[in-house]
Amino acid sequence: METLEQIKARAEAAVPGAILGILLNSSPSAQHSLVVDNEHALAVAGFLRDDPQLRLDYLSNATGVDWLDREVKESNITRQVVDGVERDIEVTSVRVVPGYLEAVYHLYSMELRHGPVILRLRTGNRSDLVQIPSLTPLWRGAEFQEREIYDLYGIQFTGHPDLRRILMWDGFEDHPMRKDYVDPDDFEYEPTPHDEVLERAARHYPTTK
């Protein structure tokens, strides 16, 4: 199979305006991935599926990842004149890198037996800009998996034919796989003798203790 750089170059040539990035993976698995902009994601994915050299006809795995807001500490050294003497002063500032949700697709080719090519689609943030295009129109195999991502992470897939909750029940409101999800404490837990859950549940069920 071609290298990811070659795939990126050809995809950018085939889909005008597409902005692709390569995300390097430093682990020994060396599975690098392609970050695709949402606007051209469907076209790029279509190119990957139909290109005769790639023929990535099999979407093996689609999954969501939640990246929380991160605080990055930056220290800048500036020259300032203090008390008439020029000195290096280190100024540390904390910058918040906004978090986002990510959908990761692992593509393989059944015909040419190669892969994986990993596609990553990112949302604007974690609250309101959570729309990304659905790849279900290209690969039917994404149907249930995208429903699961929607259910557990809250990514809205535009163009999905049947976007409903799949594992949680319909009235459920939160998205349990998000990193900042808090368990409801009035849940019917299996009480264990040394669980703080018992204490929390006791508030809701005063008769249990």
Partner: protein, 208 residues
């Protein structure tokens, strides 16, 4: 001809049915609990604590390092350290658990506690009959119920137990040799390291 496939299948069923009168291999049902198949040596059910000698309190090998508590996937182990110490198999003073509870209604018999224990203190039992009327208290095993002698360990997992005993004996020999060498080097009689404080947390995570 239509029906030959069914007839062939019927012959097969009949062969099995009649065969069960002659061949032991075809009689596979075991009438538990009157009849029991011999237990495999590797079989495991729930963890227990091994103690050496005859005292189930002071003989416990457990040093309350709490590694198993941390590593237990369903978090069914609960340990409180005691302030009293006891000597371990090489004579080093170690902590001991004041409370050691395993909730076997939560335990999933994965034996990760056994694997991570650096002191060979927790091992897997083979007992499976734990039926009780008290769903919570009856399935919560405390230190007294968990402590079982080394001879019991030998009975249920003989090869594993002898391997552990061999390792502990080797440790003891090494410790004695070291103590002797130290004593010769310092020209003092070999004394047990009693009274010195040992960082048990480090002993736990290190390659003890």
């Amino acid at each position: 001809m239509l029906g030959t496939g069914i007839l062939k299948g019927m012959v097969e069923t009949g062969r099995n049915f009649l065969g069960s009168y002659v061949s032991e291999d075809r009689l596979v049902t075991v009438q538990y609990p009157e009849q029991r198949i011999p237990r495999q040596e590797a079989a495991r059910s729930f963890p227990f604590l091994v103690f050496d000698g005859s005292d189930p309190v002071w003989g416990l090998r457990c040093v309350a390092c709490q590694i198993c508590e941390k590593e237990c996937p369903p978090k069914c182990i609960y340990i409180i350290k005691d302030s009293l110490r006891k000597a371990d198999h090489i004579g080093k003073m170690q902590f001991q658990p004041r409370v050691f509870d395993i909730d076997i209604s939560v335990c999933m018999s994965c034996q990760i506690c056994v694997e991570v224990c650096p002191f060979d203190a927790i091992k897997m039992d083979v007992e499976v009959d734990f039926s009780t009327g008290d769903r919570f208290g009856g399935l919560l095993m405390n230190k007294q119920r968990l402590a079982k002698p080394n001879s019991y360990f030998h009975k249920i997992h003989p090869s594993d137990a002898s391997e552990v005993d061999g390792r502990l004996a080797a440790d003891r020999l090494k410790a004695q040799a070291k103590a002797k060498a130290d004593a010769e080097a310092k020209g003092k009689p070999a004394a047990g390291p009693a009274g010195k404080s040992f960082a048990v947390g480090k002993a736990g995570t290190g390659s003890a």
